[in-house]
Amino acid sequence: MKPIDDNPAATHDAVFMLLPWYVNKTLQSTELTTVERHLNACPDCKREFVNLQQLSVAVNQSSAFTASSPASFSRLKERLQTTAKQPQTPSVAPIIRPAKWRNPVKFGHSSLARSTLALAAAGMLLAVVLSRVADVNQIGNDYQTLSDTKTVTNSSNDIRIIFKENTSQHAIEQILNSMQGYIINGPNEQSLYTIGFKKSIDTQHAFDNLSLLRSNPQVVFAEPGHGLLEKTQLKGVTP
């Protein structure tokens, strides 16, 4: 959302344009505050606000084209039966972070609270490290870590991934196609694939795709490959 100009005339124009969405209560944060503040001081906008409220009521009261007959699915059903639909893999839902995460959580300043937090953070970090080590051991020697000295030959945005046993090749392709990905290598003996992405996918986008893959029920393991981790170190992208 663009900040509204400090110039009073520009603010008036911007607020005047936003009034319909103030009426339908969908404005948020900065825009909402700006509109409310301006409305208190501008009789023109206040008058227009009242007009738009009346318009909103009238639009909602109008009975024109209210469905009077029950929906008839039969014609559509006939149409469906002329073409057989093949089951498709749904697109993966993005990870939606709860809104409360966007605001920093405020804790007390007692030393007890801080030390408890520090212990909890250390414990979580240890758990993450151990789980990564366990994952690497399960996968075998084909999985490279940053400390490996093997030459990297893969795409720079590569991801290592293992799908569930019963996942069909078609389903794998659909998952990868949905994020402009393709198979570079695999599957190896441990069913591990190395996948890459088209050139238009940048590092941050590759990590977004990694998150999507991790949340896909058909995926049992997904971790950044050597090239992607290396770019993370260089560019400071957060996995």
């Binding site: 344009m17 936003l18 969405w21 024109a64 929906a71 699915f73 749904p90």
Partner: protein, 193 residues
């Protein structure tokens, strides 16, 4: 009553079932959206004869393209986006949708007509229905999506596949036209002395 989250979950489940060619799930979605689509298409095209056909086209597209719904927007926004494109297509086929006039306030009055003569007898919402016909289809769509569907301008921009400022401009032009006709209506009704 469904909370937004439970409605979202139910709709996501329906889409997953539709991806797996479950006709019962499509039928449920069809019944859920029928009244809203009926109104949206009716008030956008002002053509009752088109409504059923366009609804069926919309829901057929949902059936065919369910796997492409990526959950980046509300399901209703995705479905209304499909409906918007089908409406454009239907009006274009009938020669009533002029691509050149999408972003300005050119109005085909020869087609929509004006009904000023009867305004005195009309209730406010009837007056509105009469005046809405004077707006261009895109202006009516923005009015309907804002006030009836309660969408934010950025959702409307996404749905209409246009910049946010275009949505604001279409609304602005619509408001100007409505204001002029409202003044005429009030004068004709003796509401302004």
């Amino acid at each position: 009553m469904n909370t937004p989250n439970s409605q979202h979950d139910q709709e996501a489940a329906l889409i997953r079932r539709i991806c797996h060619a479950d006709e019962n799930a499509l039928e449920q979605l069809y019944h859920d959206y029928y009244p809203r689509l009926f109104r949206f298409i009716g008030r956008t095209t002002w053509r009752e004869d088109l409504i059923e056909e366009v609804i069926n086209d919309v829901m057929y597209t949902v059936w065919e393209k369910a796997a492409t719904y990526n959950h980046q927007c509300k399901l209703s926004t995705w479905i209304f986006g499909i409906a918007y494109n089908k409406v454009r297509q239907a009006l274009r086929n009938d020669g009533h949708f002029n691509e050149d006039s999408l972003d300005d306030m050119e109005v085909d009055n020869a087609w929509f007509g004006t009904e000023d003569a009867g305004l005195m007898q009309l209730e406010t919402h009837e007056w509105l229905d009469s005046i809405l016909k004077v707006l261009s289809p895109d202006q009516r769509i923005v009015i309907e999506l804002t006030y009836f569907e309660g969408l934010h301008y950025n959702e409307i921009a996404l749905l209409m596949d246009c910049p946010e400022n275009t949505v604001k401009t279409r609304m602005h032009h619509a408001r100007k036209i409505l204001a002029v006709h409202l003044t005429d209506y009030k004068n004709a009704s003796g509401l302004i002395n």
